[in-house]
Subunit: 99 residues, 4 copies
């Protein structure tokens, strides 16, 4: 089952700069070979359900190991049976309407 | 790794009444022995990471099998290493401040 | 335009206990006369669009005034034209399917 | 009070293609002069609190006028008092850590 995910990781108890932790998760996604697209409030991820969620779990484990005591991930995860759709398809679909 | 989750399942392409689909997911959570609490915009779930996410995946698979072509789950998932916390602890913590 | 909202306020840069800040927001909702229901990962709120969003803005202003430098609210807001629906209607609708 | 928002609009009861409705909201954001960035699961928006939320309300009103009976927006909205930050600053902050 293929998914398109949007992931926002929020570390608590570590000051105001969260970008080092987001970067640590991106290394995990890259090692897992997942397609990602970073935006200002999270990361789009494309892949198989089990692989994508395994990467999210690794991200929680790595950030706790880096000293973060409390962590919330906000996730949107979409699956569909009517057609295959990629990250770029979703964006193009709106852009074509705007053109 | 224990999690507290908030899950909102949004089925697309099936009319306006989504409650039968939410109910179908709740049967899965009950069979999995997960603690849940239904609210007006989703469901709180408490359990081990792998068990909770396996139930979310089963929920997507079941709803697609029921004929839903497109499905988005909106998930908040929290983990912490500083202390154990249950669904009720989180609510009581705020209620005590309000009292 | 009536809304049903789910609100999760996440303060950053203030340690691990967020319940005093959630409680501060609940005082605002009570003063505004809004119907609310606290759950383990947020608060359901029912009311008119302008009143509910004014309360969310007051909550951000109050928490910054309490010393929080960085704040994210995660909001789900639903509107519908086909029928009136309350917080309790939404919950009952699922519970009836489960019964 | 300046905000950085992430907005995902979910129309229910209108079939599977939601891109025409997302495009209708983008016209509102453009007319309001708001900076936006479209991604695969929503739109980043930057602006003053009142202007951004007025645009979100207009978007709900327009989509209901287009015939959508039920609509949920999923919103993340961030405010901070420690520094000014733009959509691009947030992305650059992570990219610099990855470089």
């Amino acid at each position: 089952m293929k998914v398109i995910m949007d992931l926002t990781v929020s570390p608590f108890g570590v000051g105001l700069s969260v970008s080092p932790y987001i970067a640590a998760c991106h290394e995990i996604f890259a090692e897992a070979g997942l397609k990602t697209n970073l935006h200002a409030y999270g990361t789009n991820i494309e892949g198989e359900w089990d692989e994508v969620f395994a990467a999210v779990k690794l991200c929680h484990e790595k950030l706790h190991a880096m000293g973060i005591p409390r962590l919330t991930s906000s996730i949107k995860v979409g699956t569909r049976t009517d057609k295959e759709q990629s990250l770029h398809d979703k964006i193009d679909s709106v852009k074509n309407k705007l053109a």
